[in-house]
């Protein structure tokens, strides 16, 4: 909502400058988003009269600014005699200098000012009144000495979408009385009747209107046009402009019908029929349904109630007689209809938030007065005002103590009473409580808490002290999964992985492209774009895209991880399953360039190491099995099994997938993810204390040759099971030679009872060698 201070001043006295005013209202709950003071923008703009126009590709106009004529080039189409705002070359407007401009052989010696030059929202030519003397500086005209303040009105304050509404809050904040609009209605006794029938009094409890005859449709006077422009509304013609002007002034949306186009001098407010059509003022055909409220004549709907009028019965240049509708519509009804039709208008915006039902007649009268004044129309004496209720005021019972308790500060009774009264509410003191009469323009006050807020905001939030609560201290337990994922993060950070956060939504086509598609995808009904139309059920796509982006930007080393939820569709009508998942992506150089490590690229064993760290941290026992997942390289990747079920996979991505990424790289992309929620839930990290060895540990190295396809993991398990004295086994050497490989095992033996003898050691080692030789057809390397 944009307000003009000049205009607002007609409703309440403004005792300070624009900035202070905006600040005080902001602190009172009406947030001022921006301030534009026109006088700071006017520069050297002056009134000029168009004396001559030479049309062409560019129009050349001659403008008189009193002491001389200047030539200006423009693309606007203007008329001789128009009085416009111009700035001569060398001057400035909108804080910008104006220069001479040459077009071919001719020079333009100035510019024509638009409303945008003055910092207004819409770009529109500034057309001044004919009476303004040529050459007058705009800063000497009253309507240009104005500041515009844009307020961000919260949805509960429907009453603030007008000068009157803002003035009411200002009057409470500054403790100034409201001024009353002064005007006379000159009604005429002419026989002309409009019959109004309300068929749905719940959604339309009141319908007021004024009938005017012999109006003269033309452009509105400068004051009305310019004030509309200030508030961001484009002028149309005097009737439409006046309805908008009254809406901005009083908050009551109005609509003007061309009476001669109505069938049967009759207005019926009724529910629409299913499938009924209407072409609205924006020239769109709309199909209505039963629960929408319409204004109709005898035959057809002529407006969608509170939203927009019909085109056919709207005001045109030929209109002679108009009916000004000023009705009250139910906020919920208007909101639901507007939503269903995807329409949003200045009228619906206000009706949805609540318009004062007691003010309809006042708005209709004010509009009638303005129409009479500016179009020489005749106001018919017979007024229309059909209503089914007198709109009694709501009452709220509250006590001074309740208010003090909610606020937590000892504001005196007297102060509370004054604030409530200044907000134009009636207050009746009872014995221990008081009764507040809520004016009909306030749609947001229901209970004592609401009154407490009213008191607090006018009292000033910053005048209320800050105190720490004394809520009892209760030991707080931290969630196991959250604690572990924080630990994992720390481990990864210390090992060189960086964390990413990817969007939870992904593109289903991309999932298909990379063979990542599965059945139980959660789809978004109304995605923002096709790139984000389903919820992710894997972190792999996001991580793959992170690698692609980084590689395309020539990043040579990409070690990343993500911990986040994935989404798996559940039963119909139930929430999906959202397991916390851990993903890793590795690409390119293992080390940052340095002098102490040989250059090498990330491979399978890097990602395995990271995941092993995680399993160790959680205390999870997992198994590895050659992967079945088509996203991964069949030989250089593994599935991870936990308690017999696959809970993740990692390794190099399939060369076919790499090809589809269009990445120009020979390096492997290494990705992986595991369902963290599942393994954390069923694992427990146990730490047993074991005393340090009392007798010296024995270290023995053995190297064996074997077929290169034998899994070393199997041998490790075999060695472990050979003898209870085997404490640890390391693999210290590994190389391949033809079809064979050599593996070096370092075996640590521990005896807690005594020192080993050489014979005992040899016995164990022999047993190990023998077992491996038998089971894996390996042979000892001498």
């Amino acid at each position: 909502m944009i307000i003009s201070l000049n205009w607002l001043n007609e409703f309440v006295e403004i005792p300070c400058n624009a900035r202070e005013f905006a600040y005080k209202l902001t602190m009172g709950g009406l947030e001022a988003e921006s301030i534009v003071c026109l006088n700071e923008m006017l520069g050297s703009a002056r009134a000029g009269e168009i004396k001559d126009i030479k049309k062409g590709n560019i129009n050349w106009i001659t403008v008189n600014i009193k002491e001389r004529d200047i030539e200006i080039a423009t693309r606007l189409s203007l008329q001789i005699g128009d009085k416009i705002a111009v700035v001569e070359a060398g001057g400035e407007v909108g804080k910008k200098k104006v220069q001479k401009m040459t077009f071919g052989s001719r020079t333009s010696y100035g510019v024509i000012c638009s409303t945008q030059d003055l910092g207004m929202e819409n770009e529109e030519l500034i057309k001044l009144e004919k009476e303004v003397e040529n050459g007058t500086y705009l800063k000497d005209i009253k309507e240009f000495n104005d500041c515009l303040i844009t307020f961000d009105i919260t949805p509960n304050r429907g009453d603030c979408f007008s000068m009157l509404g803002i003035a009411r809050d200002a009057s409470a904040i500054f403790n100034k009385p409201l001024k009353k609009l002064e005007y006379n209605l000159e009604e005429e006794e002419i026989e002309q009747k409009i019959k109004v029938t309300l068929k749905n009094t719940k959604d339309c409890p009141r319908y007021s209107a004024r009938l005017l005859k012999n109006v003269n449709i033309k452009e509105s006077p400068f004051l009305i046009r310019f004030r509309l422009l200030k508030c961001g509304i484009r002028p149309v013609n005097n009737i439409v402009d006046i309805t908008n002007y009254v809406m901005l002034a009083l908050g009551q949306p109005l609509h003007a019908f061309d009476v001669e186009k109505l069938e049967g001098n009759e207005i019926i407010v009724r529910d629409a029929k299913n499938g009924e059509n209407i072409i609205t003022l924006d020239e769109k055909e709309r199909t209505l349904s039963e629960n929408m409220l319409v204004i109709a004549d005898k035959i057809k709907p002529i407006a969608i109630a509170g939203i927009m009028g019909e085109k056919e019965t709207g005001v045109t240049e030929k209109t002679r007689n108009v009916l000004i509708e000023s009705a009250h519509f139910d906020p919920v009804s208007v909101r639901m209809t507007a939503r269903k039709l995807s329409m949003h208008t200045d009228a619906s915006h206000r009706f949805e938030r609540g318009v004062d039902p007691k003010n309809t007649m006042e708005a209709a009268n004010y509009a009638a007065h303005l129409i009479q004044k500016y179009t020489q129309g005749h106001i018919i004496q017979e007024l229309v005002d059909v209503k089914t209720t007198s709109f009694p005021e709501k009452e709220i019972i509250c006590s001074y103590n309740d208010i003090r308790e909610i606020i937590g500060y000892d504001i005196k009774d007297e102060k509370i009473r004054n604030i409530i009264k200044n907000l134009h509410m009636g207050l009746e003191d009872k014995i221990e409580e008081f009764l507040v009469h809520i004016p009909t323009f306030r749609f947001d006050l229901f209970q004592c808490e609401d009154i407490a807020e009213e008191v607090a905001r006018i009292y000033g939030y910053n005048n209320i002290p800050s105190i720490l609560p004394s809520t009892p201290l209760i030991p707080q337990k931290k969630d196991k999964l959250a604690t572990i994922s924080e630990k994992i993060k720390d481990t990864f950070l210390n090992n060189g992985l960086s964390e990413v956060i990817n969007y939870s939504f992904v593109n289903i086509e991309e999932l298909e492209k990379y063979n990542l598609i599965e059945n139980e995808i959660v789809k978004i009904n109304n995605p923002l774009s096709l790139e984000q139309n389903v919820m992710r059920f894997t972190l792999l796509l996001g991580l793959l895209n992170n690698v692609i982006l980084n590689v395309s930007r020539s990043v040579l080393r990409v070690p990343l991880f993500e911990i986040g939820k994935i989404f798996i569709e559940g039963e119909k009508g139930k929430l999906p399953y959202e397991p916390l998942t851990l993903g890793i992506a590795l690409f390119g150089r293992r080390y940052e360039p340095c002098w102490h490590e040989k250059e090498a690229n990330f491979d399978f064993y890097d990602i395995k190491g990271f995941f092993e760290d995680v399993f160790y941290l959680i205390g999870a026992d997992v198994e590895y099995r050659q992967t079945q997942n088509p996203f991964f390289h069949p030989q250089k990747a593994t599935d991870v099994l936990f308690k017999g079920k696959t809970i993740g996979h990692f390794g190099e991505i399939h060369p076919e997938i790499l090809y589809k990424t269009r990445l120009k790289t020979k390096n492997a992309v290494i990705l992986g993810e595991i369902n963290l929620a599942k393994i954390v839930e069923k694992s427990k990290k146990l730490i047993f204390f074991r005393h340090l060895p009392k007798y010296p540990l024995v270290i023995r190295d053995i190297s064996l040759f074997m077929d290169k396809d034998i899994l070393v993991g199997e041998i490790l398990k075999t060695i472990e099971d050979t003898d209870k004295h085997i404490d640890k086994i390391y693999i210290f050497d590994l190389f391949t030679k033809g079809k064979e490989k050599s593996v070096g095992f370092r075996i640590i033996l521990r005896n807690d009872e005594k020192t080993f003898t050489d014979d005992e050691v040899q016995y164990i080692i022999n047993k190990v060698v023998q077992k491996i030789e038998e089971k894996f057809a390996a042979r000892l390397r001498r």
Partner: protein, 335 residues
Amino acid sequence: MREILEKLNQGIKEIRDLENLKRIKAEYLGKRGYITKLLKNISTLPAEEKKNYGEMINSLKKEAEKIFSQKNEGIRKEIENLSLEREKLDISLPGRRYAKGSLHPLNIVLREIEGIFEGLNFSIEEGPEIEYELYNFDMLNMPKEHPARDMHDTFYIDEDILLRTHTSPVQIRVLREKVPPLMFISPGKVYRRDADVSHSPMFHQVEGMIVDRKVSFSHLKGIMTVFLREFFGEETRLRFRPSYFPFTEPSAEVDIQCIICRGDGCRLCSYTGFLEILGCGVVHPNVFKAAGYDPKIWKGLAFGMGVERMAMLKYGINDIRLLFENDYRFLKIFA
């Protein structure tokens, strides 16, 4: 005796290494050394001379040992000095650092926020990111026809299942599952259909709640002030101004003094001198009623803030999209 010592000094004068010094020491003090021999001679002397002779030789021995140990120390130092010269490192070469990763800036900020609230005895509660419309709106005093729903442009999964637009539904879940008094925050991802330089369709929020018998708006001011001063610095100026949220009454928006212009007005703060940082309020009685609490007995305070905004302010990031692009070079800045 003096002769002996003189000779000894002469003999070791040119010695530069420990090997030779040891050899000469043996010649004098070893089992068959010269001085040892002299001491052995004692047995051949008459009894009355034995005492004198013994004392004399012993002091000679001590003197000799002293000379040797001084010489030994001298040579060792000399050798050490020589090797110190030779074993020179290029101390300017960078050290062997193990690569460190970086936490995502949003999680750095989130950890900081969580840390402050944990210090104030708040617990951390989480909930699903896909929620029932009932929990996300209706039970928070936002029925279907409520205009405040316009502020939450919502992604729908099903007719009444949606991507949560705030973490407030966690509050409903906690209210229903736990026993008051309660103090908790609920951090997490939330979703709104909105995308530009300052809006992301997915973003992070931290909301918090206190439920107790006697809490009021001034306590809310207390908690928020402590938190914001801890986060933005002790000197940070705050202002509380009235606002509107359907689930609180009274409601407030908290602004901090602009961190760029310190209140003079600049582009970041749209020339207001203040930056909007969080919303808060006294829990609306309807929310308590929906969760099965008697609003006459239980009072509540609630607040919420956007983590992206806090992070962007803290690090001076001007485009929210950078946070979700995951350019490794961007991430590494926060290591």
